[in-house]
């Protein structure tokens, strides 16, 4: 292969040249060779999780022909949002190479806070949402402060939070143990019968068109800028391929969801937040600082980054997403109850982030792993539910999947080390 000789650093004549330029001139096939090389080097990306998803879908469809149905898709699309939101916050924390064990408890507490404010105290529902989210932010910032400024390991701080906030939640809910919510405000928006554009068929397709169009627009405007600046750019074939893959996914999902009731508004909110977070992490200097701190704390400090400020703010983000996730989980049952702080939610959220491809070792990952990981987990849950398998089996299987994801993460880190990439 003539490309290979060109990309070997030792044989490279002259100054810094980007081998991707050389490689991708050969178009799609060059793209594929690079993809194979990346996977061999331990840079697996989303590959394992996508293969995993397909396997899961196949296995369950073979076991139960009702599995491959619009109603299953609707179920997955709706129920993944609550824990998915917890997972988004966790991705930020994992990028720092830390962990937040309190997100489950904080989500339960947030639901209780919202219930007490909006139902017992008759606070305006949107104001109650705002106060609830701020409660989450403050709790996260407190964890971050104790970790970053006092130096208590994050694991312990958030473990303490896990217990303490669970206690506060139980205290708030009082004797009844459950407070039913009013069907208004955000609680209505996140409930199971609120759909984008009222469930109109055009709604799902509008979203799909928007997604594909913005990917194409973003890709081509970046290509144009890079070309005029004289730096390597992605060839048109690759941009079109990416857009085509997204289009298959987006229009496929739109079609299936339209067979049921449309796109749940909860899912629309989840996707919008994913896009915003992805933008923050990849396109702003704040996001760059998070990756830097996750990669090398000393280097970040010397580069003038305030490591404590980044840590505190990331835990505040995690707390906020935990609170929002708590509201979404409460909306599925329209009540805030003692089950809100279910530690299983915490495990699922961590599992989702890691299964989706965010590394436990810090500095590597994307918020989209929250979506991919939740798809895997909810696909399994939906399948097991249909097969009539009980909670014990569900836990065992989800635990096994989490272990598999962590093993893949650790192994790919090892391959990266041996091929000099970590």
């Amino acid at each position: 292969m003539s490309n290979d000789t060109k990309t070997t650093p030792n044989t490279m004549p002259g100054p810094a040249v980007d081998p991707r330029l050389l490689q991708r001139e050969s178009g799609l096939s060059g793209y594929l060779t690079e993809f194979v090389r990346k996977v061999r080097g331990g840079d697996l990306g989303s590959l394992p999780v996508i293969i995993g998803l397909i396997v899961i879908w196949l296995v369950f469809s073979l076991n139960d022909d009702k599995y491959f149905a619009a109603s299953t898709a609707e179920f997955i699309a709706y129920y993944m949002v609550g824990i998915g939101l917890l997972a988004v916050g966790l991705v930020f924390v994992l990028l720092l190479g830390e962990i937040d064990l309190s997100v489950g408890a904080v989500s339960g507490l947030a639901a209780a806070v919202y219930a007490v404010l909006s139902v017992n105290d008759h606070v305006d529902p949107w104001l109650a949402v705002l106060l609830t989210l701020l409660t989450g932010t403050a709790i996260g910032a407190l964890h971050g402060f104790v970790f970053a400024k006092i130096g208590v390991p994050a694991f312990i701080v958030t473990l303490a939070g896990f217990l303490a906030w669970q206690g506060v939640m139980l205290w708030l809910l009082g004797n009844s143990g459950t407070i039913n919510l009013d069907d208004k405000g955000l609680n209505h928006f996140l409930s199971g019968n609120s759909y984008f554009l009222g469930g109109d068929i055009s709604g799902a397709y509008i979203l799909a068109v928007l997604a594909v169009a913005s990917l194409l627009f973003g890709g081509f405007s970046e290509q144009r800028r890079r070309r005029s600046a004289g730096v390597p750019f992605k060839p048109t074939s690759e941009l079109v391929l990416r857009a085509a893959l997204l289009a298959i996914g987006a229009f496929g999902a739109a079609y299936v969801l339209n067979q049921a009731s449309g796109v749940p508004n909860a899912l629309v909110l989840f996707l919008a937040l994913l896009i915003i977070c992805d933008f923050v992490l990849r396109r702003t200097s704040y996001g760059r600082k998070i990756f830097a701190v996750g990669g090398n704390i000393e280097a970040s400090r010397r580069a003038g980054i305030s490591v404590p400020a980044i840590r505190i703010s990331v835990y505040a983000i995690s707390g906020t997403f935990a609170a929002l996730g708590g509201l979404a989980i409460a909306a599925t049952t329209n009540a805030a109850g003692q089950a809100g702080g279910d530690p299983n939610n915490l495990m699922m959220a961590i599992a989702a982030a890691v299964i989706g491809g965010t590394s436990l070792f810090g500095g590597r990952g994307r918020v989209w792993s929250a979506l991919l990981g939740m798809l895997v987990i909810e696909s399994i849950n939906a399948g097991l539910y249909m097969l009539g398998l009980t909670l014990d089996i569900q836990y065992m299987i989800t635990g096994g999947v989490l272990l598999a994801a962590v093993v893949v993460d650790s192994l790919s880190r090892r391959t990266q080390k041996s091929s000099g990439r970590a």
Binding site: P15, A16, V17, D18, R20, A229, R421
Partner: protein, 259 residues
Amino acid sequence: MTSAPVLALRGVSKRFGAVQALTDVELEVHAGEVVALVGDNGAGKSTLVKTIAGVHPIDDGQIEWEGRPVHINRPQDAQHLGVATVYQDLALCDNLDVVNNLFLGRELKRRGTLDEVAMEQKARELLDTLSIRIPSVRIPIASLSGGQRQVVAIARSLIGEPKIVILDEPTAALGVEQTAQVLDLVERLRERGLGVILISHNMADVRAVADTVAVLRLGKNNGTFPVQQTTQETIIAAITGATENAVTRRAARTAEAAK
């Protein structure tokens, strides 16, 4: 050199508790000059460099910048003057690519968001002018060799357009080929008119690139020599503090044995 030095230390002293780490140290660095700072372990080289970099403020004496007295109390003060320091532990982020490491902490922005295109363009220009060879500016630092990381770290120090670059043992962990790359780069810094302070234990490196050797011994100046006109023995004598020392004794012994 006839022009005023860019950086001059006049009678600088630094004390840590009971340890008098630096006593009345003098040092001058001119534009386009490579000054090697040598001395035994504990001689005070790192301490001297840290006073210039603003890590440890000086207790006594004066630092002059382009002829004016200045105060360097914090690392930012040194950076604003135009002092860039490459510490021995390189402090690069393994997970970020070369461009992102070069611009870490001073990213270029466009409408409030990161301007990756401009950063990549500038990074390529910078690496080109320094003739730094790396396979791609978009691969993670983790996949570079030790020498490549060292040159990236040095290139990173140039992003702020400094006038003085301090290199603390840049070749200590490197092989022959990689050491040569770094020394080439030091020469290119000199060609660009930068003043370089190079800490090194390796006499061969010092003789290869330095214009001037400043010797520290027990926290005091022990001679400043033009490299061209000075023998290695003279420098070693200044480092060890005697014409009679382990190195000369060994030389004498081997001479004796040869007879």
